[in-house]
Symmetry: C2
Subunit: 276 residues, 2 copies
């Protein structure tokens, strides 16, 4: 199976894209809705969550892993590759960087994402490693995730907040904008309108699906290991009606969410002297 994990439901945009590019392969997804979101949390916490998420997928038979979450891709990819050296691990930052560099003409690229993604500075580092002349400007837009999850895709409040998020990037003269969070592609029309028609949007979901497809073509040894199946298995660590509604929004159709059997034991070890 192709394993995909995300901090929540947003990664389903990537499942949708993989199904489009690689029909017939069985996908297993894990959305950590019990601890969502990751983007406001520290790198250490995100890394420990990402490792558990990957373990879930491998335990269920995934042969390759796609990190759909930008925050986890930004801070946890290295730790995941160290922990699971035999598993091909794909993430959303590298293919987005590749695409952004391919389409920018003025060599000024903007990135929007969660606080964790933007503070990591990963886009700047990865782009500088390939072409140090390219200027990269990032802006954290934490309000966009809750707006999308409320389904407020076209409301005036959303338009205003998107506009505000883009101002610091527009004044830098970007010609390319990476949508650095799984939720943002749902805001494409508003983002395109506020960024300006000439700004090229990079949707990481499309790029990572292309990368996985190319990898499988080049590596039949992994391709052979993948099972076939039409309907993806979508597991979540917490299940509510709201999550089901958001899942429909992201997949563009009704989809069954399965509750993963998790034990949320966040074992607390006191390490101070009792004083009370």
């Amino acid at each position: 199976m192709i394993g995909v994990f995300d901090s929540g439901i947003g990664g389903l945009t990537i499942v949708r894209e993989i199904l489009r590019k690689l029909p017939g392969y069985r996908i297993i997804y894990f959305g950590d809705t019990a601890r969502t979101p990751y983007g406001t949390k520290s790198p250490e916490t995100i890394i420990s969550y990402a490792i558990q998420d990957a373990e879930f997928l491998l335990e269920y038979g995934a042969k390759i892993i796609v990190v759909a979450c930008h925050s986890a891709s930004s801070v946890a990819t290295e730790a995941l590759r160290e922990r699971f050296p035999d598993v091909p691990i794909f993430e959303v930052v590298s293919p987005s960087v590749k695409k952004a560099l391919a389409v920018t003409t003025k060599k000024i690229i903007g990135v929007i994402g969660t606080r964790a993604t933007i503070s990591s500075g990963i886009y700047q580092r990865k782009i500088a490693a390939i072409d140090p002349e390219v200027k990269v400007y990032g802006n954290a837009c934490p309000l966009l995730v809750p707006l999308v999850e409320e389904g407020w895709l076209k409301k005036p409040e959303t338009r205003r907040i998107v506009k505000k998020c883009l101002i610091p990037l527009k004044i830098r003269g970007i010609d390319t904008l990476v949508l650095g969070c799984t939720h943002y592609p749902l805001l494409k029309p508003v983002i395109q309108a506020k960024a300006g028609r000439r700004v090229r949007l990079v949707d990481p979901a499309e790029e990572v699906a292309i990368e996985v497809a190319e990898f499988l073509k080049a590596n039949p040894r992994f391709e052979e290991k993948l099972s076939r199946g039409d309907e993806p298995l979508i597991y979540v660590s917490d299940l509510t009606e709201a999550f089901e509604r958001v899942a429909r929004l992201f997949m563009g159709r009704r989809i069954t969410l399965l509750k993963a059997d998790c034990e949320m034991s966040h074992i607390i070890k006191p390490h101070i002297t009792k004083t009370g």
Copy 2:
């Protein structure tokens, strides 16, 4: 010590109020920032988190527990009392209900809160048990938490979103409005303006602090067990600069956050046959 827990940082508004009403008592706080927010999650998940949070406080020496989180107060209080029968457990719903009933004249009360709090219907049930003639209308306003956490307390977008949240309650003719989430008191000026001057706002932080003070006065046996100390001990399960910034916002002054030594082992037990 007086133990206070919350899904995150918001419960510090309650610490602030308890410090004001009960100066000199030592407070220990646990904010579950590694899994925040709770309000979007299922009752089962919130209950399991709340029990762990209470265990942390008791382990560190808390003698009474205040559930600062409205979502946990709404869905987990009963489970907490069953699990810890010897510990006095306070929560934010009951004192807010008492206050709302005391101040309403038209007997039409509005409640705003997270999705978990509003869906639980707890305000309706508790109020109906005391005065079945009172009408209670709730509305979930999930966007207000991220707006407060961004520090957007007075921005035009916040005003518009608050206005939208209150419309369904205003058309019902409410004369009293319960701020059913730790974050909302920071929006008091905007909420008061949009609700109308005649609507009385109920701030649960104040009410729960009064309830704890009255309990200690009436129960010297518990009062004697409480240790003294000026500065509260504020523990969090995840620590970032953004959480520190929000903590300052809620406490109205600089405050040290201590990282609790948690093991976030969300142990996943596969229960399907491997197919990949």
